[in-house]
Amino acid sequence: MSEATTEKLPKDVAAEDGMVNVQVDGNWIQVPKGTRMIEACKIAEKEVPHYCYHPKLSSPGNCRMCLVQMGMPPRPAPGEDPKFKDDGFQEIGWMPRPVIACANTVAENMGIRTTGELVESCRHGVMEFLLINHPLDCPICDQAGECSLQEFSVEHGRGNSRFVDNKVKKPKNVDIGPRIRLDDERCIMCSRCIRFMDEVADDPALGFTDRGTHTTLTVHPGHRLDSNYSLNTADICPVGALTSNDFRFQMRVWFLKETKSIDTNCGTGSNTVIWTRGSEIFRVTPRENNEVNSCWMPDSHRLNFHYVNSEARLNTPMIRNTSGTHEAATWADSIQKAAEVLRIHQPGEIAIIGSGKQTNEELFLLGKLAEALETDLLTLVPRMGESDGKLVAADRNANTTGATLLWDTEDPYAKLDAIREGVRSKKIKTLVVFYENLLEEAGFKEEDLANLNLLVSNHILPNGTAKNSHIVLPGAAFAEKRGSMVNITGRLQRLNKAIEPPAGAMDDWEIIRDLIAALDKKAAPLYLIEDVLKAIGAAVPAFEEQTFSKIGDQGIQITVTGQTIPLLDKEHQRIERGEIVG
């Protein structure tokens, strides 16, 4: 090979960067060494249909849907040099038998065909097999619209059925856990749920019984699918075998609007999709972010949205009259009244309690409000629990890290005890409260609140604090506002608005802005939430030059707190061991 000495072959060029050359449907691409064939096809933008393969789980290769044709250069005879063509590649010898793309890794000069007679006939065959015993009950199946069986049968299925015998009968509507329902006839035995419960949720409750065509998915004797991660099995189920009790029969998925947002139930800040129609939330599902929550989400967090749809939502500002009942008021009057009373009190008599579930923009403006009132009595209410060793962080407040940065403090909760004592001893006479019911975690008692000259509070639902407030300002829930938060690892992420807040309620940042404006006529005007983030960027180094579009769907690491997410640590170990693609 005279050219080889003068010019580098593609394989040597690729090898320098740890890459290999792979031909996918006739086009040569470079992919990292060790890439699975199915991922190489994805890089080449060729779809390989599959059911059992999931990048976050082990690959058993059981569905046989991802069969492709593979070719390798022929092995040279002993003593013979490999022959390279003019383009620098070797001739590919195609194998007569198909291979699964999900579990095999690429090699130098490998060829993959994702189309062609052999591959198509394999897919046709597998599709037909999957459907012969499937009940074909799409009209009453919740998965319809997001079912891989439907999708691939359109592309690779046959128009008519050759199956004229009785289908296999299996259990239906099986109660296997509090949040999941099982239909065994729909199950295609891909084992994704079994592997998820075993490998990710650490609760191997699911398994197969019986064998052959009678193979049946079920919970092991004495077990229930009651893990706090059980609903993820419904997400990864490619068919309608596992469905969510909470969502089933509520709405056809094609009617739902998807909004990318984040979870506000703990410091992890799992990335989510909020599924809505009109002004109603129907479900929340996890969204992949490999720096935060992988593909998963705890049940307790995703189901915590029904209160947003509540009919009891506060939908107008209210001022308490002299007889002690609340009367509806205009926003202008409510803000004006609050500002008037606040203005006549001394700084030491005023305190502000915010919430760790508020966005950066809201927390920043609370700081500005404190400045306007010249008080340093500003705090959040701590919510510490225990980490579950996976995705639920010990800190149940979503934005503690944000508060730490924005208020430039080690401990944004430090002053809560002092404020509570101040209220109790009547030293503090006015209290502005956002998003928190003081009678719960904050440790206030109803008689404490009776001491106050003025209690202004913002809530989305009626509660004990609202009842004792002089002025109640209805706010927006997590799905009704835009904003940003910083999770426990220091990642800046954004919330998006999936639905509108009730008419008469207002976005929290606007409420705080109006309060500041009423107190300080010289305050810079803020028209858009972007303006707030810009102001934060100017004031807080960690947020310098951040914009919502820069944050994007996956967020940006703006600081390193040293805290990690246990589930991700485990996932990284599994990727390193080659057990999963990741």
């Binding site: 690959s59 059981n62 097999f129 012969i132």
Partner: protein, 470 residues
Amino acid sequence: MSDIQYIDGKQPHQREHRLIFKNIDRVGWNPSLDTYRNDGGYKQLKDALKWEPKAITNEVKKSGLRGRGGAGFPTGVKWGFIPPNNTKPVYLICNADESEPGTFKDRYILHQDPHQLIEGMVISCFAVGAHLAYIYIREEFPEAAEILERALEEARNANLLGDNILGSGFNCQIHIHRGAGAYICGEETGLIESLEGKRPYPRIKPPYFPAAMGLYMCPTIVNNVESLCHVKHIIQMGAEEYAKLGTPRNTGTRIVCVSGDVKKPGYFEIQVGKMTMGELLNDVCGGPKDGRKFKAVIPGGSSAKILRCDEKFNVSCPPGTEKREISFEEIPLDFDTLAACGTMAGSGGVIVMDDSRKMSWVLNNLNKFYAHESCGQCTPCREGSTWMRKITDRLVAGKASPSDIDTLNSIAYQIDGKTVCAFGEACSWPVEAMVDKFRAELVSETSEDNESIAHSAESEAQRRFLQPQG
């Protein structure tokens, strides 16, 4: 060998060459250690322990021994697949899950000559560097398990197992694991999963080749009972001498188990390739039953493709020579020629059918077995095997139409080559071969009229929407 007396009526045929089955049906023989030792047993172990382990592997490679379990893969080459820089423990597993229909050779070794297996295993363990070995024995052999357990106990007490075997410094322990009655546990990776206490779902290869990632993800060698017994004889005879048995590339002896429609069915140990199909069936087995003719033969266990007895094959026979036409009777019983004839030597189970047999019934019987035994892991075999059974169920009941035969054939090809393990081939080959070779007979049992009949309440319900009402 002339001094060996066999039980009356069970004397080996003169064409047999008894090596492995030397002690089967022997007068005065029992499975105890003393009997085995008095016959010179465990001498080869003592010799072998003085060898270099590598040398034993090389000797087995040189002998040309091919696995007797079904695939016929060279045993020594398999042993050589253990990664050279391996630091993990190595395991040896004896596959005594003899469940291929038509095969009944290993059970006689286990029942009558367990020490031959143990000796072969310890030598093999020494060769591959395994200190722990398992015998995976099928559930349906309870007596064999007891006999083997007793034999292992004797061997332990005699320091033929355990620590510092016969003062050589080599440690080796053998345990018995009893299966739970699943055919799939005979597949080596399914067997390994079962041994690990899981469902016996065969693993995908790559990446899970047992020699590198086997039991507990450690290098593991899985060999058939008969193959392991051969190791002892290779040490005894020397590879060169052993390789003189049989024919080149198909060396040694093997046990064929003949069942079905012959006058004298049974087990026969023959030199591989030195006997033809005709000689086996007509001479050794006494020919067809009176007034009958041979119709078809499955030559290597039920998953091997069936052969018509009036077929002609254009193959190179003996291997390496020019292709020529040979009749069914002329096929030598070796690995390569049978493969060239489109079937396989498999596990040595020769199932003979004469002209009294209906092929539809034969096929349905096979399909029932495979539909029942499919493990259900991967789609084509799980769904396809039962579908084929449902069609042949109708075929034998006279409710099939000619198009069902085409469907049957296409289902088989939809399974073949697309499954995790070789069970896909095992269940589809009989159908492919049967439809290929006996299509006319199968079609003759069908009727065009069945095309328009609903075969189930479900298809009845579906047809309601297809046919005009009233």
